[in-house]
């Protein structure tokens, strides 16, 4: 880990928060975090659960966990206690790292955090992976996805071979969460490895992103999700920004009108990336020349099988799950509909084949939301659909109010997974055979 991520001169700046953090300082912070982790019971072969917002504390404890020879379980800080407790019971880390103090105000991209480390169990990690991430699961509880150290290193190296990523000495204006694959590998790990400075804006606003770009003279790549394109497209820059090299987003397709508004305003390349938690970056179009298609990343093979995209993935990424419909024989079945052009090899994604949706770049499986809502006290049946947003149609026992349901849902689901519209009905529409109707227009009609 030290060679791949922490090499370099002590004086080289690796993060700007906005005060510069050099490699010497980061190495010292990692050493201190390692002492806290091992002091609380973390051992090589064990696991540390990190329940931290994007912060210097997160970076230090993540690297310290790996330096200890342990597994890092990444828990999005937006998950509820209910979701976290369930994950911890399942994954039994030796220690849990969580904030004991957070500061800095609202809408921060990077948070000022003091982390506390508490002992949780004395068990070894449940798998040999270096990192465990949770993905919203189609069967209710989250899917557990593991990636080995070798797999992460291979992805970092893959980035170094992609034309159009930030180069050594340049900067990444980092907007996505470092708990998820794009911000973690495409931002943090690649930046540390390649000597690219990571510069989160002071907070999530168009002005703050432009200020972060303007803060140094070196070329800056803005890394984000499509929401951030809209944010910048609606911000008028105060002056020229010659440092602005490009913007690259992942997570979901970019509406053509949003892409056009952005390029009209800034005139820099708007790149697109396609990746999954299970394998990391799969393909890119960093100059926006093939929109909406992407070219497979170096070393990655993509094929189309009966309308579904399959991606080369040597080992099963799922922990405790042997489902040949998701992974088999070195191929990950993405559940993304798509086509591969036989002549150019370019891949076009046409949407999901299952109930997974993307909310601000975060994957949410509607089945998880539906199972949670349907399981609430006072709810007799529920249907959750995507209707340009997560919409829940709920049949109750008649005594349950919308406010009560809101409260119960907020206890159980992280904000990005919660329904944006909630309709309480005396009776959900059903087919003649008694099955719940899942068509959004029919549900809308029933609710009016």
């Amino acid at each position: 880990m030290d060679d791949i991520l922490l090499a370099g001169r002590d004086s080289d700046v690796c993060l700007r928060l906005p005060d510069p953090v050099d490699r010497g300082t980061l190495r010292r912070l990692v050493g201190e975090a390692q002492a806290r982790l091992t002091g609380a019971g973390l051992r090589a072969g064990g696991a540390a659960a990190l329940r931290l917002p994007p912060s210097l504390a997160y970076v230090a404890h993540l690297l310290a966990t790996w330096r200890t020879g342990a597994q890092a379980v990444l828990l999005d800080h937006r998950l509820t206690d209910h979701e976290v407790d369930r994950a911890l019971r399942r994954l039994t880390p030796q220690v849990v790292v969580a904030p004991v103090r957070s500061g800095g105000g609202a809408l921060r991209v990077f948070v000022d955090v003091d982390a506390g480390v508490t002992a949780y169990s004395d068990r070894p990690a449940g798998s040999p992976h270096a990192v465990i991430q949770l993905s919203s699961g189609s069967t209710g509880p989250s899917k557990v996805i593991g990636r080995t150290a070798a797999d992460l290193v291979a992805e970092v190296r893959r980035y170094t071979e992609i034309d159009g990523v930030a180069r050594p000495g340049e900067r990444i204006i980092l907007l996505p969460s470092m708990v998820h694959v794009l911000g973690l590998v495409g931002g943090l790990l690649y930046g540390l490895h390649a000597g690219v400075e990571l510069c989160p804006p002071e907070r999530l606003s168009g002005d703050a992103v432009l200020a972060a770009i303007a803060a140094q003279d070196t070329p800056a790549t803005v890394l984000g999700v499509p929401f951030h394109i809209g944010l910048l497209a609606s911000t008028v820059p105060a002056g020229p920004l010659p440092q602005f090299a490009r913007m690259t987003t992942g997570g979901e397709l970019v509406p053509a009108a949003v892409a056009r508004a952005f390029t009209d305003r800034y005139g820099v390349p708007l790149g697109n990336m396609y990746g999954m938690t299970e394998v990391g970056v799969i393909g890119t179009d960093l100059y926006g020349r093939n929109r909406p298609a992407i070219a497979p990343a170096p070393g990655i093979r993509v094929r189309e099988q009966d309308g579904e995209l399959w991606v080369s993935c040597p080992a099963n990424p799922y922990v405790g799950l042997a489902d040949p419909t998701r992974w088999a024989d070195g191929w990950l079945h993405t559940r993304d509909a798509g086509v591969v052009d036989p002549e150019t090899g370019l891949v076009t994604i046409r949407g999901r084949l299952d109930s997974q949706v993307s909310v601000g770049g975060l994957k949410v499986d509607l089945t998880e939301v539906e199972a949670t809502v349907a399981g609430l006290p006072g709810v007799t049946a529920a249907v959750v659909v995507w209707d340009d947003g997560i919409s829940a149609y709920v049949q109750t026992d008649g005594a349950t109010t919308e406010e009560t349901l809101d409260h119960l849902i907020a206890e159980r689901l992280a904000g990005f997974k919660r329904p944006r519209t909630l309709h309480l009905l005396d009776q959900l529409p059903r087919t003649t055979t008694g099955k719940l109707v899942r068509s959004a227009p029919a549900l809308r009609d029933a609710a009016t």
Partner: protein, 81 residues
């Protein structure tokens, strides 16, 4: 002197309609963190001043009406804090 700022519910709904590309009458009333960040961004652009919201203020915003209350309070506070 603290007159009400020229910001109404319809303004926020219009801003959300831009984000979601939906007609205003189909904009959901509930807000996630992304929608709230969008509203803060556009309100700041419109009034050309920064809304210094606290974590607690943001955490308490669930709906468009909640956001309007918080924005009005912030806009009527002295600009230099």
């Amino acid at each position: 002197m603290s007159g009400q700022p020229d910001l109404g519910r319809a303004d926020l709904v219009q801003m959300l309609a831009e984000l979601t590309a939906k007609p205003t009458d189909q904009v959901p009333d509930r807000l996630g963190s992304m929608e709230l960040a969008w509203l803060v961004h556009l309100v700041e652009q419109r009034f050309d001043r920064r809304l210094d919201l606290t974590d607690d203020q943001v955490a308490g915003v669930r709906t468009v009406d909640d956001a309007l209350t918080v924005f009005r309070a912030s806009l009527t506070a002295p600009a230099d804090g």
